[in-house]
């Protein structure tokens, strides 16, 4: 019988207290916080739509929607089960003829603007658009002052 990789590691580290502690930490941190189910992914999670035009629309949208469990990734990039379910949902809705903007609004109504990587221009996000212009202006002003002095 072949020993499992975990059992082999355990035997090796038993000789060394520090490594044993490290292994304990590894075990503790390796426990998944979001366990996975045993169901296969939703049919449209990893399958493209037959119509390339629809698939292109769905793909563009999926790249700009945030995965709810991994949070730093878009649902197009994530392998999380819920991201797969969200991709399937997006493809179903696109196939049913819904527009990408409507689907985004549908998700924003449930999870807030947080779920979208394409924030609208409003009072909350205005600084993001204005600040670079403002900084560029200040930079230009400082540079102008410097160049004039050296002349």
């Amino acid at each position: 019988m072949i020993a499992s990789p975990h059992a082999v590691i355990l035997k090796q580290v038993q000789h060394d207290g520090l490594a044993c502690a490290a292994f304990a930490i590894f075990l503790a941190t390796a426990t998944p916080v979001f366990a996975d189910s045993s169901l296969p992914p939703a049919p449209l999670a990893y399958t493209q739509l037959p119509d390339p035009r629809q698939e292109a629309k769905a793909a563009a949208l999926m790249h700009s929607l945030r995965c709810l469990v991994c949070q730093g990734q878009s649902i197009a990039d994530s392998d999380a089960e819920m991201a797969g379910d969200m991709r399937a949902l997006v493809r179903q809705k696109i196939a049913a003829g819904e527009s990408p903007d409507d689907i985004r609004d549908w998700l924003v109504a449930r999870y807030g603007k947080w779920v979208s990587y394409d924030p609208p221009l409003d009072a909350m996000t205005a600084p993001l658009w204005i600040a670079p212009l403002l900084l560029l202006g200040i930079g230009g002003w400082v540079a102008y002052g410097r160049f004039r002095k050296h002349r």
């Binding site: 189910s37 045993s38 939703a42 469990v69 089960e81 449930r110």
Partner: protein
């Protein structure tokens, strides 16, 4: 003015450093609340999750009495942790309907056998569609639904003993 211009870059650098360090020490909160509080439960009709109990639909929440909607899964560890608290709520007369996320009947049966069954109705949601529909972003989550089917409160994560009074008072408020 000249002195200020000289020190401004350092000041800006320190502000950035402060922002980055706080971001590193205290990362952004990761709980995403449903934005459907105060809105009606979306329309859905789920097939039974176990052979011995009925499935669940939006209509089941419109009989005039407030209820709990528990989003759970047999593969979810915190769901096992909250089972005694749900049991306790059920014993005090609270109606709890459940949506089982990405689950198989035999696994749900096994889970209920091990941890108790506080549910009246259990719907099976194999593609998380109802979960996404109500703005839930994980398991377990528990929603207080009033007698007209309006979502009144959302509890994210497992229910601990100290959360029971809050849930009971939210149920009372939803009456």
């Amino acid at each position: 003015m000249k002195r200020f211009v000289l020190w401004a870059p350092l000041l800006v650098f320190l502000i950035f450093l402060g922002v980055f360090v706080t971001g590193l020490i205290k990362p952004e909160s990761s709980t995403i609340r449903s934005h459907l509080l105060g809105h009606p439960l979306p329309e859905f009709k789920l097939a039974p999750g176990v052979p011995t109990q009925p499935g669940v639909a939006t209509a089941d929440f419109k009989d005039g009495k407030p209820k709990l909607l528990n989003v759970f899964a047999s593969w979810c560890v915190p769901c096992a942790a909250e089972a005694p608290q749900l049991e306790q709520l059920a014993k005090t007369g609270v109606t709890i309907h459940a949506v089982a996320i990405r689950d198989r009947p035999e696994d749900i049966v096994d889970f209920l056998k091990r941890y108790g069954n506080p549910y009246i109705r259990i719907g099976s949601d194999p593609t998380s569609s109802v979960q996404i529909g109500i703005g839930s972003s994980g398991v377990p989550e528990t929603f207080v639904i009033d007698g007209k089917g309006i979502i009144r409160y959302q509890h994210i994560g497992d229910i601990r003993a100290e959360n029971i009074p809050t849930l009971l008072s939210e149920l009372e408020k939803a009456r």
